[in-house]
């Protein structure tokens, strides 16, 4: 990989990094709700400024944290145009054939693009400042109520954590296999869609084989070390929420509440 995959944890000691993962995950859900509910200028301004502040406080390198947004610019652009030209609005600025450009459409396009970009930026802040370990243990805590309806919460958390830990390994292996097939003539570098499609099988089959092999090895290794289901495993650490965590939750809830005030 010559490029770091977006959304991977980046070490740091900012206040955002230090917030308890449970509080961070809940705050994230509140902020997503805020973005989805936003419908007024004031509401948008609140979420936008807050997201920018989060990025600034977390001291994440912007190029990496927002890399995905930058790479999807074409997608954003197309979404914007589709909304701008096809939105059913009164008094269009100009219309020709099936296209109707209107102020309403432009506003709607900006609206959608801004929302998706905000959601991506927020999830980037979450995943870049939380280690996968903390994230799964937070998920496990938050899913506890589901035990009542017999969801095997511990096993689910274990599965997620194993899956997350294998992502870098599999990415690395994908990269290696891609290089090996390129070197022997697969046309990954070609711009033609047909050539690219031809390259799918030589890439996907070896990755599947390798994922199965790894899963097999891992399960053997886990059993050899005495793993008997996740149910009775002891937790690595158990800490109550601190003032900082509560503050994060409070602020996020406030941003969410703002959306109801300015409807």
């Amino acid at each position: 990989m010559s490029r770091l995959p977006t959304g991977q944890y980046i070490y740091g000691e900012s206040p955002i990094h230090l917030i308890d993962a449970r509080a961070k995950l809940l705050s994230f859900i509140l902020l997503i709700a805020a973005v989805v509910l936003a419908s007024s200028f004031a509401g948008y301004a609140a979420v936008f400024c807050f997201t920018a502040a989060l990025l600034w406080i977390s001291r994440l390198p912007l190029g990496t944290a927002l890399g995905a947004i930058r790479r999807l610019w074409l997608f954003f652009f197309v979404i914007f145009l589709m909304n701008a030209f096809f939105f059913e609005a009164e008094n269009p600025i100009f219309s020709w054939w099936i296209f109707r450009l209107s102020y309403g459409g432009i506003a709607q396009g900006a609206n959608v693009v801004l929302r998706v970009a905000l959601l991506m930026a927020l999830s980037s802040v979450l995943t870049c400042t939380t280690t996968p370990m903390d994230m799964t243990s937070a998920l496990q805590s938050l899913m506890k109520p589901l035990k009542i309806i017999r969801v095997p919460v511990e096993d689910v958390a274990m599965i997620i954590s194993v899956a997350i830990q294998f992502i870098p390994t599999l990415l690395e292996e994908t990269d290696m296999i891609k290089k090996a097939q390129t070197a022997r003539g697969a046309r990954f570098e070609s711009r033609s869609l047909r050539h690219k499609a031809e390259c799918v099988i030589p890439l996907v089959i070896p990755i599947f084989i390798s994922a199965f092999r790894r899963a097999d090895e891992l399960s053997t290794a886990m059993e050899a070390r005495g793993y008997r289901g996740a149910k009775n495993r002891t937790k690595r650490k158990k800490e109550p929420l601190k003032a900082r965590d509560l503050a994060a939750l409070f602020i996020s809830a406030a941003i969410c509440a703002v959306q109801f005030c300015f409807r």
């Binding site: 990989m1 010559s2 490029r3 770091l4 980046i10 070490y11 390198p61 190029g63 990496t64 292996e173 290696m176 296999i177 290089k179 090996a180 097939q181 390129t182 070197a183 022997r184 003539g185 697969a186 046309r187 570098e189 099988i201 030589p202 089959i205 070896p206 084989i209 390798s210």
Partner: protein
């Protein structure tokens, strides 16, 4: 087809907190028919260097020239590069995917413009070189083979294209001594037939025995480059770098120390044997 690195630098994950400068201002020329051993500690940039040569990474700075042409220049026809430079990664068996051995080995010839007879001939040639009987293995599934056989099939897939330059990344790691010897003999035969070989290895003995030229990397820089004999004769430096000294060299030194004078430039087994023979026949036996 000579390959040339011209002031090449390479940085991984550039612009992120994980930025690593893997190669720094490296210049190097490898001529036709050479057998180059690349040595150095884990993380010194060997894999990065060979991937740059194979055009799988694009240098952050500098140029990679194949036959005098910049392989990363805009109008360069990359199929020329792919036809002439083959690379075998550390676990080549992971690249197998076809339903039969024959199809897998032929994968690289798909776009070569050869007709079916020629393709089949190439596949037979490559598999036989790798020690298989073509007729008995052609219809087997590559996944049903043993680890060593898979590796040989995968290498056959690279050789079938008949590249003029073949690059190996630690090919003998994880092979038993017999397999190692057979494998080195094979690449040495390829080299005799005119193929340029570039191979990364940690095994000082094998490199002393087979390579004609050794280059040593340290922290992304080229620190030694010379004839195998000269590099391995610099025992002090090789020990300082902890790259190991070849066994025949150690034996020759031990003999010299005990009064059985041996030449100071022995590095390979063959040289040791002929030097001892000469001593004994020359009547110098103490």
């Amino acid at each position: 087809m000579p390959v040339e690195l011209e002031n090449v630098s390479y940085t991984y994950a550039s612009g992120t907190p994980y930025e690593t400068e893997a190669l720094e201002n490296m210049s190097l020329k490898i001529k036709d028919g050479e057998f180059v051993g690349v040595m150095g500690h884990t993380g010194c940039g060997k894999s990065t260097m060979i991937q740059l040569i194979a055009g799988l990474l694009v240098p952050s700075e500098g140029k990679v020239l194949l036959d005098g042409n910049d392989i990363n220049a805009k109008g360069y026809d990359r199929s020329v590069l792919r036809r002439n430079v083959g690379i075998v990664f550390q676990y080549p068996e992971y690249q197998l995917f076809e339903t039969t051995v024959e199809k897998d080995v032929a994968f690289g010839l798909k776009h070569s413009g050869l007709d079916r007879g020629e393709v089949s001939e190439r596949v037979r040639w490559a598999l036989e070189i790798m020690g298989f009987s073509f007729d008995s293995i052609r219809n087997q599934s590559p996944l049903s083979l043993s680890g060593g056989e898979k590796r040989r099939v995968a290498i056959a897939g690279v050789l079938a294209v008949r590249p003029k330059i073949v690059i190996f990344d630690e090919p003998i790691a994880g092979l038993d001594p017999l397999g190692r010897e057979a494998f080195l003999k094979l690449i040495s035969d390829l080299n005799e037939d005119g193929t340029t070989i570039i191979t990364v290895s940690h095994n000082a003995d094998s490199m002393a025995e087979y390579a004609k030229r050794i280059i040593v990397l340290d922290s992304g820089r080229l620190i030694m480059d010379g004839k195998t004999r000269d590099v391995f004769s610099d025992v002090k430096r090789m020990e300082e770098l902890r790259l190991g000294v070849s066994q025949p060299r150690l034996i020759a030194d031990m003999l010299s120390k005990r009064g059985f004078e041996m030449p100071r430039d022995i590095v390979s087994c063959g040289e040791l044997v002929s030097a001892i023979k000469e001593r004994l026949i020359g009547g110098g036996c103490p």
